[in-house]
């Protein structure tokens, strides 16, 4: 392996000569051996991005080749980990260098000493294909980790296979051609892992968020973008989805965001119990924390590292969800490196390949038939942080070309403390049609009908509000005044949902449906009453209407709601 020399250092970018490395190979820069990656070769000049701070690095210092690209270590022991952008476990870094991250530390992505009990699921003589599982490890109490032939390994007949306790480097199977298999393999993070076949997303991802499930639903294996100015609720939404989405594995990537937010995740995930199993969320999570003040090159890598681990668990047949907060910081990392490379900038200084990189990333999501047989999925939710909250900027626009669900955050709603601040007129889900049959079959035949009705009311409301701004609401015909009131109910009693309320943070499908149906029932009664000539003031002051406001906060809401609806029957009958 060659040892080259640093020629120039400017920020996170180093130029070196005397190397033979390939593009995207990992190299170690300087006396301290800083983890770095080759990102450009021109003549004998190598351009290298350094994943660590370069302060003090001098021309003339050595650059060592490693002969391999940046890889993730894949094997048991990934779950519950907290990594930086290049899969270094943060607690290990803390053990090595204290509370502040220092440089030049090399730490394995998974523990190589720990023994795991390996249970073969294949036997001597079985012929293994690439990607096929041949055994398993109980990685967490409820999560079995399938041990698979690496996708690029050609496989073959098993000559020997051992049950027992092994670490990830020990041989657990030998194939006829003499190749040895262990519980770990490495995978270059910038490369998508292969699947047999991509499948259409036909099953909704249940999130327990009314505006999401009820209006703009995401499918398992689907992609969603959540753009919004600062403080509009991207992070809270991603954390809430991580907590409640019905997936097996959660990959939470904090990409260039706040340290205190990561502390929050690291604090909450271990404590938060899965309502079904009572087990902590952390047991089925992988967290990446490459905060805004950590090196930008590692921030750029974190998205790929995160995705690679997501794909690995998908390959075992799990439903995974990866949230990336924020893809804009990732794009900015690209821009920063690009401008230091003096590349020809595209729109707003972003590199011309921004769109292609975003596309490659979202393409790695999806539901698929995996090499091992069976199905797995990766749903991706990417936060986008547009400058000035303006969605016409390149990252938002390029993302919208790729993703199927758009949750548009609206700072006007934020200012009113309406959460989630997802604008109900601008947002959309292209999975709408595909998922409709599922909801009809599994929740209610009226699911879609009610959803359309509610959306129409809100649409009409928006039009009416413009008129109200000119003439006041009292000048409107009575039925339109009712529509305004019903819209207000849908917005305040149903769309609004506090992520921090112990009950309301998660709303099951049935409850979502029942609450909306109750509001629509009020609407029908109110319209009927208007026809009969009853005044709007009288209609709006029926006590059962106000009672609907807080049903969402009740865990055992059914008897309460039933009582309110019965009361509504009585109250409207009494209106004369």
């Amino acid at each position: 392996m060659e040892v080259g020399k640093v020629k120039r250092v400017a920020g996170p970018l180093v130029q070196a000569t005397g190397l033979k490395a390939s593009m995207y190979d990992l190299v170690l820069v300087g006396e301290e051996g800083l983890m770095s990656e080759v990102i450009g070769i021109s003549g004998n000049k190598y351009i290298i991005q350094v994943y660590e701070d370069t302060g003090g690095v001098r021309p003339g210092e050595p650059v060592k080749e490693t002969g391999a690209p940046l890889v993730a270590q894949l094997g048991p022991g990934i779950l519950t980990q907290i990594y930086d952008g290049i899969q270094r476990p943060l607690p290990m870094l803390a053990a090595a260098s204290g509370d502040f991250i220092s440089r030049g530390l090399f730490v394995d992505g998974i523990d190589h000493k720990k023994k795991w009990e390996f249970k073969p699921t294949a036997k001597k003589g079985d012929v293994l294909k690439p990607g096929q599982a041949f055994g398993e490890v109980q990685e967490q109490l409820l999560i079995k980790h399938k041990i698979m032939v690496p996708p690029k390994h050609k496989g073959g007949a098993i000559k020997e296979i051992y049950a027992g306790n092994f670490n990830v480097d020990e041989t657990i199977a030998v194939l006829e051609d003499g190749s040895k298999l262990t519980m770990m393999h490495k995978w270059p993070v910038r490369q998508a892992r292969p699947v047999t076949k991509k499948l259409a997303p036909t099953i909704p991802l249940r999130t327990g968020q009314r505006v999401v499930d009820g209006f703009f639903s995401l499918a398992k294996g689907g992609t969603a973008a959540i753009p919004g100015g600062f403080g509009t609720g991207k992070t809270v939404m991603q954390q809430t989805l991580s907590k409640w989405a019905d997936v097996d594995i959660v990959i939470y990537v904090g990409c260039g965001e706040r340290g205190n937010e990561m502390a929050d995740v690291l604090h909450e995930f271990p404590e938060l119990q899965d309502p079904k199993t009572g087990r902590p969320l952390m047991e089925r999570s992988i967290v990446y924390a490459n905060t805004s003040n950590m090196p930008v090159a590692a921030r750029e890598a974190s998205i790929y590292t995160g995705m690679t681990t997501a794909e690995y668990y998908r390959d075992m047949g799990y439903d995974c969800m990866m949230t990336a907060d924020s893809t804009s910081r990732w794009a900015e990392a690209m821009r920063e490196m690009g401008s230091r490379l003096e590349e020809m900038p595209g729109e707003e200084g972003y590199p011309a390949y921004l769109g292609a990189r975003l596309a490659d990333f979202y393409e790695r999501a999806g539901r698929a038939e995996v090499l091992n047989g069976g199905q797995g999925s990766i749903s991706v939710v990417g936060a986008v942080s547009p400058p000035g909250g303006d969605f016409t900027e390149p990252v938002t626009q390029n993302t919208l070309r790729m993703v199927k669900v758009f949750w548009a955050l609206d700072s006007k709603l934020t200012q009113r403390r309406h959460f989630p601040s997802i604008n109900w007129l601008d947002s959309y889900s292209l999975y709408d049609q595909i998922l409709e049959p599922w909801f009809i079959e599994n929740v209610s035949p009226d699911w879609n009908k009610n959803k359309r009705r509610a959306m129409n009311i809100l649409q009409e409301n928006a039009e009416l509000e413009e008129i109200v701004m000119l003439v006041g609401s009292d000048a409107l015909p009575e039925d339109q005044q009712i529509t305004l009131e019903v819209a207000r109910m849908i917005i305040n009693f149903w769309l609004a949902q506090s992520a921090f309320h112990p009950v309301d943070t998660f709303c099951p499908y049935k409850k979502q449906f029942d609450l909306l149906a109750a509001i629509l029932k009020y609407r029908d009664y109110a319209f009927e009453a208007v026809q009969k000539g009853i005044s709007v003031a009288e209609i709006n002051s029926v006590p059962s209407k106000d009672a609907l406001a807080k049903v969402r906060l009740e865990a055992e809401y059914e008897p309460i709601l039933a009582k309110i609806l019965a009361q509504m029957d009585v109250e409207f009958k009494a209106l004369k």
């Binding site: 302060g55 509370d99 706040r258 205190n260 805004s292 000048a475 807080k550």
Partner: protein
């Protein structure tokens, strides 16, 4: 000591280009001697034969045969407990006539990132005595909460009032205030110093002053020096540190100037593409660390150019900090102090610092309800201006009145008025009590029964 070079090949704005033979480290501290004066600089680009250096004290007076020597080390700040009580320049030199700091430790001013896994969760409530902060945008220890203001608004008074009144409930702990001035006027600086002196705060403060007529490049150092000092006081000496720095806008202008001098591809509105990362490297130096006693809480102040919150400086700051307190020109014109507009203001760490065990169980609900009707009332003002108050429905009239009263009684308070959180919540309830109970849709019934003035008397008896 390395050798001295007299090989400046180019001087361009704040930058000098120097030819040299020995290897020089990126970010290395450089000493530049001209006449009797010593200027300092930092290496921004280092290659085999030439280095680019930014000169903090400005390149005025430098010529091609000025002597340049490389120190072989990055910039470090001398620190010892005796730094508390000192007034230093924006580059860390004594400005109070006192001696140089005799260092117990030297710390790299770039500061390493706190390992996210080592961070503690900020959750201790800090009472500032200001209702719009404590009640609706609560501050916690370890938070970075900037004040977004505009030229001519009383953000300095607000910052001083916070510095004076801020306390944790029920504990006496060692704390310090660090004040970093970047490009503010001498008059503003005197205003701060006089107040520190009046209240005795100077004894537990460290002041860094880079004034409007001091070199602009020096401003790039000032917050780094302040934050390095903060880390030392917080994590070596176990102190709770409150750091106020003003004005971040001037700091960002210096960054832009440096970027232009280096002929970098500019980002939005001419600011460097790495400004987000650069600002993050300052703002992220707030927080608490598991197992250590101290904390760093940041109050950066920035004036929004043209009062425009979408300008890159407030915009990028807002994306990094944990909320923002917005000082509003409109409220200021109405004569309301502090003119904090709570609608666009936010404290993201509020949730972990309020509620049972921190402030009071009804805090979140009261705050949400106040927000909702204040925002709605504000919207209705526009409508009322067009159609007249009379055309509003009864409900809307109530909401409109609520917004007015909210500004006069909740937002408005004296410059020396130090309200307890319970006073603040009480004012909130008194305002809400003027609305029909059915309108309090964001408040759980159990809190209404316990704290609504209508029931409070009987609830208290129980």
């Amino acid at each position: 000591m390395t050798k001295e070079y007299k090989t400046i090949t180019e001087i361009s704005g704040p930058l000098i280009f120097v030819e040299k033979t020995e290897p020089v480290g990126y970010m290395e501290l450089v000493e530049i001697r001209t006449g009797g004066e010593m200027k300092r600089g930092q290496v921004l680009d280092s290659s085999d034969d030439i280095v680019v250096i930014q000169v903090f004290e400005g390149t005025g007076g430098l010529s091609k045969d000025t002597a340049v020597s490389f120190t072989g080390d990055v910039i470090k700040m001398p620190l010892s407990p005796s730094i508390v009580g000192r007034v230093l320049s924006g580059s860390g030199k004594p400005r109070d006539g006192g001696p140089e700091i005799v260092p117990e430790v030297l710390r790299d001013i770039a500061g390493a990132a706190i390992n996210p896994a080592s961070r503690g969760k900020p959750r201790s409530f800090i009472q500032t005595g200001i209702s719009t902060i404590d009640g609706t945008n609560t501050l916690v220890r370890g938070q970075k909460l900037p004040i977004f203001s505009g030229a001519g608004l009383p953000h300095n008074d607000l910052a001083l009032q916070i510095a004076r009144q801020a306390k944790a409930l029920g504990e006496a702990e060692s704390f310090a205030v660090i004040f970093c001035a970047m490009g503010i006027t001498n008059e503003e600086a005197q205003h701060f110093l006089a107040d520190f002196e009046r209240t005795g705060a100077l004894e537990r403060a460290v002041v860094f002053l880079n004034l409007a007529d001091d070199p602009a490049v020096e401003r790039i150092l000032t917050p780094r020096l302040g934050l390095t000092t903060a880390e030392y006081l917080a994590f070596d000496l176990d102190m709770h540190v409150l750091i106020i720095y003003t004005d971040m806008t001037n700091y960002c202008e210096s960054l832009r100037q440096m970027g232009a001098a280096r002929e970098e591809v500019p980002g939005r509105r001419g600011y460097p593409g790495y400004m987000y990362t650069d600002l993050a490297c300052q703002y992220e130096r707030a927080g608490i660390i598991k197992g250590r006693k101290g904390s760093i809480t940041q109050f950066p102040i920035l004036t929004m150019p043209g009062d425009d919150i979408t300008h890159p400086i407030p915009d990028l700051s807002g994306y990094i900090t944990e909320g923002q307190i917005i000082v509003s020109r409109e409220l200021h014109r109405k004569g309301i102090y502090p003119p904090v507009d709570i609608r666009p203001s936010l404290s993201r760490l509020m949730n972990s610092g309020i509620g049972k065990g921190h402030t009071r169980e009804d805090h979140r609900a009261v705050s949400d309800q106040l927000y909702a009707y204040y925002a709605e009332g504000n919207d209705l003002r526009g409508l009322a201006a067009i159609v007249g108050k009379e055309a509003l429905s009864e409900r809307d009239k109530l909401v409109l009145e609520f917004a007015d009263k909210f500004e006069k009684r909740f937002v408005n308070q004296g410059r020396d008025e130090d309200r307890s959180i319970f006073d603040t919540l009480q004012i909130g309830w008194d305002l809400l009590a003027d609305l029909p109970e059915a309108m309090l849709t964001r408040i759980d019934d159990k809190y209404i029964k316990a704290y609504h003035p209508k029931y409070a008397a009987s609830a208290a008896k129980k």
